[in-house]
Point group: C2
Chain length 159, copies 2
Amino acid sequence: MTHKRTVTAHAGEQSISFSREFEASATLVFEAHTDAALIARWTGPRGTQLTMREFDARTGGSWSYLIVGSRGEWGFHGSFHEVTSPSRIVQTFEFEGEPGHPTLEVLTFTDIGAGRSRIDGLSVFLSVEDRDAMLSGMDSGMDENFDRLDELFAANAVT
Amino acid sequence: MTHKRTVTAHAGEQSISFSREFEASATLVFEAHTDAALIARWTGPRGTQLTMREFDARTGGSWSYLIVGSRGEWGFHGSFHEVTSPSRIVQTFEFEGEPGHPTLEVLTFTDIGAGRSRIDGLSVFLSVEDRDAMLSGMDSGMDENFDRLDELFAANAVT
């Protein structure tokens, strides 16, 4: 099954917006974004291992994880500006392999009926150059993550 | 004495950059941004009182304060994405009177010789509309804050 997904990035702007639908309620999709053990099961390329170094999903908390694969390891960290269950997460995000390029990300979780829901995401970057640098690999990375998350929902692994 | 200050906001972009020079070292200007008691002495319009509700100036920490004046009170909060002494602060910022419009702010502190230093700031907004809404009052508010901070340096109140 293919799940409706859009990515929008207008030329010259310093943001990327996306939306993605799921076969699960907003409450469960939110849970999959705020439970450290669940995040480790769907974040990162298949075949890699995510180790959570810090995770405190509340307004004012912070997070940090390491993804380890056969070709290397990649660290990421950020802070939670807002965590409002089950509808909204505002967080910062930085890839430690290229420090100095943090982003601000807003995720909104909305039920759309029949047990389904949608994430609307907005990432804003420090510059258009930062945004353009992220854009090339973002689609495939997001698709792989969210496909993995679909599999967790299909397996009833999020409750 | 007038201190060199610039504010730059290009039409159609969703960021504001500024720079401001101080008669104090980067270490002291950084200190004035990461010490709760000092922040309370220069942040907000003259005649108001700042109460720090939460303040943990470290990477992954958060902050929250209330400014009370004769015409009302205004809450603000955010999280510290990065605090690197004495050169860099990356934080989120939200005015609680208009929730849902957080910004990401990068402050860089640089010595420029003769005991002087400069802050370079960059604020990025969720949209051009958010940026434009902030732009009108930003100059005068920033000038008043930094004039108050100048007075602290002149009085050797930051050590």
